[in-house]
């Protein structure tokens, strides 16, 4: 294991550990409003300062990290599995199956998903707890985010279907689900991994965008998305650099994921 991979693993463990320990590290919790110190810069009491209504930013970053770190990969996993199922099988089966699956995928791709999400949110009951709103947000992202990955997987599976080793396997009597499971799916893993890791930051940023449209995580619960909203209207980076901590954390976590898993994807580590 290279030093970069070890470092990435250590960083991820540290971030995950800190976020899971947020109940002990940030005793005030993410919702308490220190109104006399609203918008305060970092201090001994508030290591990353406070947000616009006086909530401890450090606590919100820790709790938000926990939510995003657990739920964005969950949504990415859901969307990747759906992509593998639809795209992988379509590519493997080919012919009319592939055409039908890709027609459905194109239909989903052509849907204005943002408006679809707005519509779904508008139809949802109003009195839902913040926790439910988090789960619903990431579930919707997972259910709607599989289409692009499905197209990539369909193309890759189609190539594999016509490859020599699959023909050989077929000639030696391996067929159906077994052929797909033993020979096709393992060779789709690099593409699946890539789609999975690409989806995580994409879903985190999507959640931030949805927050602006009122579809994101409900107050007072934090997420990286809602924390990134603090950067709205920041005229220069030097003004309040501590507000960039959630963004920095997002970059570090996503990069660490990429480094840690680069070997499995066949990329130089």
């Amino acid at each position: 294991m290279s030093i970069w991979r070890r470092l990435a693993g250590a960083v991820l463990l540290l971030v995950l550990g800190l976020s899971l320990a947020s109940n002990w590290l940030a005793l005030a919790g993410y919702a308490k409003q220190y109104r006399a110190a609203a918008g305060a810069p970092p201090s001994r009491e508030h290591w990353l300062g406070t947000d616009d209504i006086g909530r401890d930013r450090f606590a919100r970053v820790l709790y938000g990290t926990r939510i995003s770190l657990l739920l964005a990969p969950a949504a990415a996993l859901l969307s990747t599995l759906m992509a593998a199922l639809v795209g992988g099988l379509a590519g493997y089966l080919g012919g009319a199956w592939a055409k039908a699956a890709m027609a459905i995928t194109d239909l989903f791709l052509s849907l204005p998903w943002l408006f679809l999400l707005i519509m779904v949110r508008a139809l949802m009951p109003l009195n839902v707890s913040p926790l439910t709103s988090v789960l619903v947000t990431f579930l919707m992202l997972g259910l709607l985010g599989w289409t692009s990955a499905a197209r990539v997987l369909c193309a890759s599976a189609g190539t594999l279907r016509d490859s020599d080793f699959v023909r050989q396997a077929r000639a030696s009597g391996i067929r159906g689900v077994r052929l797909f499971w033993i020979h096709v799916l393992p060779n789709l893993k690099p593409v699946l991994y890539a789609q999975f890791w690409i989806s995580i930051p994409a879903f985190i940023v999507s959640e931030a965008n949805l927050g602006i449209l009122g579809l994101g995580v409900a107050e007072p619960m934090p997420s990286w998305g809602s924390l990134l909203r603090e950067l709205e209207g920041l005229v220069s980076a030097g003004e309040e650099p501590w507000k960039f901590v959630p963004l920095l954390l997002l970059v570090v976590v996503v990069t660490s994921f990429q480094l840690l898993l680069s070997k499995e994807e066949g990329l130089p580590a």
Partner: protein, 543 residues
């Protein structure tokens, strides 16, 4: 871009006037040139002053249109403009104007009473669908216009129009004879160029009739360049780079940032007319459980919720001190109509609990429950993307949590919010606000009359469902039918008292009117009324 500024005091003039001339004369000579630049936040939809509806077109109408009377944005008093004097009949149906003589439109066409008659006729033409004209439509029938002489005109409406003279502040007079139609204007500036999506350029009207106290022709400015820029962040950056001179309705965060860098450029004119408020759904047919309807229709419940909201904190934290806790439906900034007998709403969670206990509510393990054991949980919706309202809702959530009330904050896109508010009535509480309401209570008739569509807490009641709503209906009609200011004020004062007692709207704060004016703009004196910074555009100059 702005290198012409600073050249307008030529060396020759300096030599000519010498040191013996007064400072005042030097100043007025200095005002002879200059271009003012600021941003319009949307594309103007029309240059026809009678069709104006959107803010950008209103700004252009204000700068180019000549009106018979004009509301002084600083004193809030109506002043003569093209009309030297006017008289409103006792029944509020007829207004007669004595006009100034010898004036011309920007293209040289002479101005007379005939133009006033022509404008009013066009304004009241139902086919034109003029939003300005709609404010004069108080009853069925036609308007009678009598041109008595070139400087005298009388207009009679089929029914009394409340605040009739003030309504003419919005009516820019058109020429009946000019081939340039609505582009021939009587205001200080005229439209010289328009690049869609980019700029509207206004040039000085050479035939403008006003002069300053020293006899110099107004306006001082050569031109005004209005850049179409919907993005507030870009507007702020351009101001910081000295590319524009004014920002109206400045955000409190931006205000503080600008103040930190250059305190002289920012202006806090105090509380504006804008108000933010919450209301509960009191619609009988709303798809809500009956026990929730009972809470929301109880004045005691609404008062208790109001008592438990810390308005001082909302003003201090959300608006960084650039707002005032609201005292009622009218902002104290509305000098004439504000009822100064109203007392500030005091934050008192104890009083809230006491009121609720009186109605059978009780606290169980930190959760407030009604007499049937239902936990007090409701949602407050606000429009997504409005960070101030989102923050207020979150602070209210914490305030109400202290008395055991659980609030879910929901942000929705505006169309979905409107649909719930006006069509399905599927909501519990909404946090919204009024921006730029008019000074006169008649402009809020559609909110206070129980039969109105905009009577938000319970729209379109067939007959008033409560005694206090019936009383508000009566008082609003009394003030609308009267042309005696004292009588109208008395009635509207009582309306304000009833609203504060019953709290159909729980008023939160009045935002302050914040603006920024570059240091090289002279004569600016920002006010709370729109247009805050350039209300006296004819007397502004840029060095």
């Amino acid at each position: 871009m702005r290198n012409s500024r600073g050249k307008f005091m030529s060396v020759g003039i300096w030599k000519m006037v010498g040191r013996s001339l007064s400072v005042g004369l030097l100043a007025s000579l200095a005002f002879a040139q200059g271009e003012l630049r600021f941003c319009l936040r949307s594309e103007p939809k029309t240059f026809d002053p009678l069709k104006v509806e959107d803010d950008a077109s209103v700004a252009i109408r204000y700068l180019t249109g000549g009106t018979l009377v004009r509301l002084n944005r600083q004193t809030q008093v109506l002043e003569p403009e093209l009309a030297q004097s006017w008289n409103v009949s006792k029944d509020g149906r007829e207004i007669s104007f004595k006009l100034r003589g010898g004036l011309s439109f920007s293209d040289g066409t002479p101005f007379s009473a005939e133009d006033v008659g022509y404008t009013v006729q066009k304004l009241m033409d139902p086919a034109l669908h003029s939003p300005t004209g709609d404010t004069f439509r108080s009853g069925p029938g036609n308007v009678a216009i009598k041109v008595i002489s070139p400087t005298q005109v009388s207009i009679t409406f089929p029914a009394p129009v409340a605040g009739l003279d003030r309504q003419f502040d919005q009516v820019a007079i058109l020429s009946a004879h000019s081939p340039k139609k609505e582009l021939a204007v009587l205001g200080a500036f005229m439209v010289a160029d328009y690049k869609p999506g980019a700029t509207v350029l206004l040039k000085r009207n050479p035939n403008y009739w006003k002069t300053d106290s020293q006899g110099h022709k107004l306006p001082y400015l050569d031109s005004i360049s209005l850049d179409i820029q919907p993005n507030r962040d870009v507007e702020m950056l351009r101001f910081k780079r000295n590319e524009i001179d004014l920002i109206n309705s400045l955000d409190s965060e931006y205000f503080d940032k600008l103040a930190a860098a250059s305190p002289q450029v920012v202006h806090d004119a105090g509380p504006s007319l804008d108000s933010e408020f919450v209301w509960f759904n009191e619609v009988a047919k709303a798809p809500l459980p009956d026990y929730k309807k009972n809470w929301f229709r109880s004045a005691n419940f609404r008062r208790a919720i109001s008592d438990a909201i810390n308005r001082e904190d909302l003003a201090k934290v959300v608006f960084r001190g650039h707002a005032q806790p609201a005292m009622g439906p009218v902002s104290p900034a509305n000098k004439f109509w504000f009822n100064d007998k109203l007392k500030p709403m005091v934050y008192s969670p104890d009083a809230a609990i006491k009121t609720l206990q009186g109605d059978g509510f009780r606290s169980e393990n930190g959760t407030l429950k009604d007499k049937d054991g239902n936990a007090i949980v409701f949602s407050i919706i606000t429009n997504s993307g409005n960070k101030y309202r989102e923050r207020m809702a979150t602070m209210i959530q914490e305030d109400l949590g202290k008395i055991g009330v659980k609030v879910n904050v929901v942000t929705l896109d505006f169309p979905s919010l409107l649909d719930r508010m006006t069509q399905t009535f599927d909501y519990e509480a909404i946090l919204l606000g009024f921006t730029n309401p008019g000074l006169d209570p008649n402009e809020q008739m559609n909110v206070w009359l129980s039969s109105s569509e905009n009577h938000q807490w319970n729209p379109q009641e067939k007959s008033p469902e409560t005694a206090w709503e019936a009383e508000i209906d009566r008082l609003m009609r009394v003030q609308a039918a009267s042309s005696i200011p004292g009588q109208r004020k008395e009635a509207f004062d009582r309306v304000q008292e009833i609203v504060v007692q019953q709290e159909p709207f729980i008023y939160l704060v009045n935002r302050n009117a914040l603006s920024a004016v570059a240091l090289d703009v002279h004569g600016a004196s920002p006010v709370i009324l729109v247009p805050q910074t350039y209300w006296n555009a004819e007397r502004l100059s840029v060095r």
